[in-house]
């Protein structure tokens, strides 16, 4: 029938699956195991940080570090996430984007156990999860927007596996490094891992020194001066004159 022909001619398939991804050097990944997310976000100058509503479902938060396997899922789809579990290697982080809605979850207890069994390092999603007790029991780290009893719907196209996806302002490409802790989630573009690592080390050293000095000296004067507080507060006008 004519109508069906039209559909078949469409530009894009309902599901697009890229089976292989390029992962960063494991040595570099290891370096990020203990980094605070806030310091990584600083090194990227606040870029690539996920929305603050995406939090660990565990109390206390469980850290996640690993290369991204990305899923662009319509709300309710679980098909691509299942495929992601099959394709993922131990240590990968499955990032499920586009899943935000309040009528379904992206996964629950059985799928959490599947991920655990596959050695997946964690799940990050802008959607909801369910079966919180089974998730906790599985010890699978998950950062998500919340918890619901609602099941996913299984097969809801369209969707892509291992395409570039968006969560908030963060662009997540397969193989980029996901780092998540109690503050939230940041995604490091794989080509920047080396530079970011160096910067994070410097940031941590500096902040540790600030705090250690504060505890020792009980004085905040040094920081106020470094930050030029009074100079900036009384400083002249900004140069721009558009408003």
């Amino acid at each position: 029938m004519e109508n069906k022909r039209i559909l078949k001619e469409r530009a894009l398939a309902q599901y697009r699956v890229h089976e292989t991804i390029t992962r960063p050097d494991p040595e570099l990944v290891r370096a990020f195991q203990e980094y605070p997310v806030a310091a990584v976000s600083d090194a990227l100058r606040k870029r690539q940080t996920l929305p603050f509503q995406i939090k660990s479902v565990h109390v206390p938060a469980r850290r996640i570090v690993g290369p991204a396997v990305t899923v662009l899922a319509s709300a309710g789809d679980e098909l691509l996430t299942l495929k992601a579990f099959q394709l993922a290697q131990p240590g990968d982080v499955v990032v499920i984007a586009g899943a935000w809605n309040d009528q379904s979850s992206v996964l629950g207890g059985v799928m959490s156990w599947m991920a655990k069994v596959r050695g997946i390092a964690g799940i990050v999603t802008d959607g909801l999860v369910r079966d919180l007790e089974q998730i906790i029991d599985s010890e699978l780290p998950i950062h998500a927007r919340g918890v619901t009893p609602l099941a996913p719907s299984h097969d809801v196209p369209p969707g892509d596996l291992n395409s570039t996806v968006c969560i908030g302002q963060a662009v997540v490409r397969p193989g980029d490094l996901v780092v998540a802790d109690c503050d939230g989630v940041v995604v490091v573009p794989s080509e920047l891992l080396g530079k970011v690592r160096t910067t994070v080390d410097a940031i941590i050293a500096r902040d540790d020194k600030w705090i250690s000095d504060l505890r020792k000296t009980r004085s905040i004067d040094d920081i106020l001066e470094t930050c030029a507080v009074d100079a900036l507060l009384t400083g002249g006008e900004r140069v721009c004159s558009l408003k």
Copy 2:
């Protein structure tokens, strides 16, 4: 005066109170005491599940199971909830709908103790509660949208006691069974309790087997095959041609 006459002629009273409700067979209610909310939601095929923002105010979450006494309350009203406490029987769950606003709570410490003393099994509301310490001390299970210091306003018509009410997409009738746990809240229409019970037993058995198999075999292949992941991902077009 004429104006007052007009008011008295209005179709509906400010408050409408139905004093008696029909409760389900206690044996059936008991069967649901340990069911996970997610499995009940599945048996209803995702129908009748409350919005995910409504959560237990206790850490860890306290379960609630019991027949609904329903309150349709204007934001700030506590009058109908007090009346509900009077009419409720031990084991009932008071469901307070329509209460969502950010300028008042639906109840606090004193009313929680009133509910506790009456043997009420729990409270479910789309509004806020207050006096969190007293609520925790009372051990009364409450699922609500959040916590505020703000008091209710006492007497805010209109409102109905034991009418059919809405919370999200869930239709809640007096006597329907409320089930709440750490995942959220579901409401089972009383005439479906028997069928749902049978289905939930089957669902739990199947999911337990999935997880137990996963832990034993460390393989996810069986599930992927059962779910027809590859077949569906590469499957033909949907039949519809409206878009």
Copy 3:
């Protein structure tokens, strides 16, 4: 296979369709053709009024009056709405609940023309619509939450046709009377149509007189006195002592 057996045993079908509904007396429906929604909402004492975000997509707003054919649709489903068009009689209003999400619309240009051709009086939905130009061209009155280019997804269970549905706090049963104008939407339970009609007539007469008096006398004193403003502002305490 065992898994499929479990699914078949489930309590509820994916789709539940009730083909026939009871419509109110056409004479009563006609009486509501010109009533302002605000006056009907008053007669119901603010009950049964839909959320204010649901607005006419036409400028100026097109009125809708007619008995409800109800659809409880998962986000993206269009199957049940198509079935509703088939079952609806000329003059019916199709109310599509549960459809709110931001990843799909509930209908667009082709379906608007289908509804128009069937003589449907209008559409009310908590979801989005698309093809605004074609909708305007069809002159089909629609109250919805907004406009998007996104298509529906066709076949997204679960869903019910002609069950009781919720939109905000309003309970909508098949055959209840939907009234929509530029202020919003109200749903009158069919058994209250006669009483509401009498009350609305009185309310309109009173408000017209208020406004006509204001324009004539240019004085607001009469209303302030009737409303007992000063008495209430300086009045004694409320009786309740719970807080």
Copy 4:
């Protein structure tokens, strides 16, 4: 009874009414009649600008300029607004804060006509209004958050007349100057009217010149240079080292 005594001892009355306010020099008020709100917001350096969701209910937007009579109203209260109408002088703007909720409006057609008859220059509220047709008919300028059929509830304490109120980050005191147009609403502290006036005149002259130059020269280079775009984009690091 003891409980009632406790209530009477409370620190604050349910309603607090300040009958008189100090209005700014009418000559200064007149000067603001034609100022764009954006230019006034600039002169205040973005302070005192109301949330962008508060818009004129008229198409096209009707301007409002006048001294504030302030109402701090609980959601649904109309008592204090009625009192405000009584106390207001021609040219005043009634600002109703705290009224935001989705279960009631702050006023409708009859009260709009009351305000019109009293010569009130306009209404600004963070709540909803109703009877849109009657409002349009009355030609009373109103900036509000939206439109609903729902009535106010008349007498909902607590509330204050002519106290300092908050709408978003803007502090509104009785007698401050309200200016509203199609961009939104800004409130000028009365003691700054003279300085703001001078600045606004300069801002308008400058912006008019920018636009007139653009239309004449078809070149954007002058602005880019004035704004130091390239210098700032490639400029050195900020001085602060806290992160």
Copy 5:
């Protein structure tokens, strides 16, 4: 250049700093150390209570009591908060308003330690904070809207130190008393501290008696009668006839 002259003529400085504030009698402040926020909110008749989304970032919640040092900060600014730390006296509470956005925090670990070292009693903000582990380690009480890894941006005018600020409907002036616990936050105008204290004592005594009676007698009849539930539910119409 002309454009810069215009800027310099503007009515308001980018930053306005008031260095000194008047603090309430320390004896009065001490009296509020143990008061529940809900009881204080009651004594103010629900006025001056902050939005419920602002919660302690500590589990369990840490109480805050002290006079306000107020910051009106643009989203991302940390300059004025640093200045506030310099000007604050031990026991002060720094209230940071206007800071709500999802692209930055108002402070993190280093600044929490600065506040701790200065003896600041706590921070209340409508924005986000970061470095949750360091905050917990510092034991500085903070009520905020949430947690993010994102840094502040340092120098984002405009802003005011120790001006009157708004958080929700609450007007916060420098020197007003901030009280925060697990229910939320309330701000007591300094001139009302004495009256509020007396009222809170009475409220606590009454509520304690209610709960103690409930636990002893296991009867709710006394409260239902005091609250006039049946009388109000069946009572006559309200006097107003505007709708």
Copy 6:
């Protein structure tokens, strides 16, 4: 000073500017001039469609078609947008992402005239704009989230010019084709323009035929049959058995 050294070592610059982009074949761009956004969204199978809240600020909506120049801007920044205007060629569409907040706009009247003078085809942003009257006067097409009087803040790092950006789930790369009309906005990846064009032509032909048939035959049976409504509603269970 050491602190400054640390900053300079950071991985990423505050601003990153890519001056050149690759634009699609102008012949292909022209082909999209009249396409409805909904049909393009269909050809992409609902991918790459922007959030429905982003609407034309013009009444009626003004269409936008052209290759994207992308700005990733912190809330309040106008520096990168000014630079984008300088680098853009006539016919380009400036897409400003990351700008959503309620404390500033991304541009106003002067910048709209700058864009107009540069021949820019339109602006698409997830932020707010101001000076609505001047924008309307300039006839520059703008799709934005809303209107505010608030100015941008000029220089708010970090930000990128012509990097890949996210708006909702849509990934926007420099040179991708932006298409906007009264339904909303869609972004076509440049490498898919040819395929999408062919598909859109087929979709439009089919939909026009549907509507033309409906108007002629006044029958909806053909569509219902094509869409297999009855078959799908009564069809067997879905294959998956995970829930």
